[in-house]
């Protein structure tokens, strides 16, 4: 795998610091950790960061029909200093990429990123010189939500996925592998193996 992916894994705020696992933090402080992650997962304050048409669906998600407040995420913050999760809603142009990165850097840890829609996740139909082909080239993305644009229920599903990720117990061997950048390669090999065996089965 290219080195870029490894650095993204290292930046991922959901992965633990290696030292924590080695010191046994995963054993002694596990109940506290669970409590903290529950609190974090159920009060995700998103950053107002609508870049294009996906933002309309994002606004609709907060409105009364779908009511994102049921998940503790109704408080959209206009400043990155008070936000936990950045929902990249819309295509990221090359001009916007440095701004996106700066705003991500200004968010306090722990922070998460949801890439909403085809354009933010991969460039979508805009495979041209002006659009960044996937926001994960600029910031580490935790959850991708496909769709053009994703309907409010699809976005809520993505937010639920993110909550699951935050609530997941940390300090396991698997997470350690991920933190060291080994897990990704193992996982990748696994996928390739699956594809090869699927081919051979035909």
């Amino acid at each position: 795998m290219p080195k870029r992916v490894e650095t993204i894994v290292m930046h991922d705020s959901a992965t633990p610091v290696i030292g924590d696992v080695q010191k046994g933090g995963g054993v002694v402080l596990a109940p506290l950790d669970t409590l903290v992650s529950q609190a974090r997962a159920n009060a995700l304050w998103p950053l107002t960061f609508g870049l294009a048409c996906c933002a309309i669906e994002m606004m609709c998600t907060v409105a009364s029909r779908f009511d994102l407040a049921r998940f503790g995420s109704e408080a959209f913050r206009a400043t990155p200093r008070q936000a936990d999760v950045m929902i990249i809603a819309g295509r990221v142009s090359k001009k916007m990429a440095p701004v996106l990165r700066q705003i991500y850097d200004q968010m306090p840890e722990p922070k998460w990123v949801i890439s909403m829609g085809a354009c933010a996740s991969s460039g979508g139909v805009y495979n041209n010189y002006a659009i960044v082909q996937g926001a994960d080239q600029v910031v580490p993305v935790d959850v991708y939500v496909p769709g053009c644009p994703p309907s409010p229920d699809a976005l809520i599903y993505g937010i639920m996925k993110l909550q699951q990720k935050i609530k997941r117990p940390k300090g396991s061997f698997r997470e350690l592998q991920l933190a060291e950048g080994l897990g990704r390669d193992l996982q990748h090999d696994d996928i390739i193996d699956k594809r090869i065996s699927a081919k051979a089965g035909k």
């Binding site: 029909r65 049921r70 991969s122 959850v143 229920d153 993505g158």
Partner: protein, 152 residues
């Protein structure tokens, strides 16, 4: 317009006005859909996850013609065809799709593939729960897209 403070005009009246709105709304039907527990009915023509369908006989409808890939504005479909033989028959036509991959992150769910398909093999159904953590998981292979053989 008088500049003097009037408790009835400036405090009680606006307050009552506000409570009137709350009072009217309190007994109306609630508009919120409690999404994970109850789902709204998707619109009739809503387009979400792709499915490769089969004939009633169990044969695949897809004949590997790549018209869907040609019609795709996002270029997210990859089709590799192979010849049918009498021993290994997968579709009624001459050829079948040996590989059929859709990049769900690129896909804009426009439904042009469905329109282009001459046999009606690829259809967009209403399963919208597609979010995931990893880029690699979004390349949907033929095994994931193909409808299971119907029982009976």
């Amino acid at each position: 317009m008088s500049a003097t403070f009037n408790p009835w005009r400036d405090v009680a009246k606006p307050l009552l006005k506000g409570f009137m709105v709350t009072g009217k709304r309190a007994f109306k039907k609630k508009v919120t859909i409690q999404y994970p527990e109850e789902r709204r009915e998707q619109f009739v023509r809503s387009r979400w996850r792709h499915v490769l369908t089969r004939y009633d006989s169990g044969l695949e409808k897809c004949i590997g013609c790549s018209l869907c890939a040609g019609a795709c504005p996002a270029r997210c479909i990859y089709v590799e065809a192979a010849e049918n033989t009498d021993q290994d028959r997968r579709s009624p036509g001459e050829r079948y799709a040996a590989r059929y991959e859709i990049n769900m992150l690129r896909c804009i769910f426009c439904g042009y593939c469905q329109d282009a398909c001459p046999t009606g093999a690829i259809v967009l159904r209403k399963d919208f729960e597609l979010a995931n953590y990893d880029r690699d998981d979004f390349v949907y292979t033929k095994e994931m897209l193909l409808e299971p053989v119907r029982e009976g």
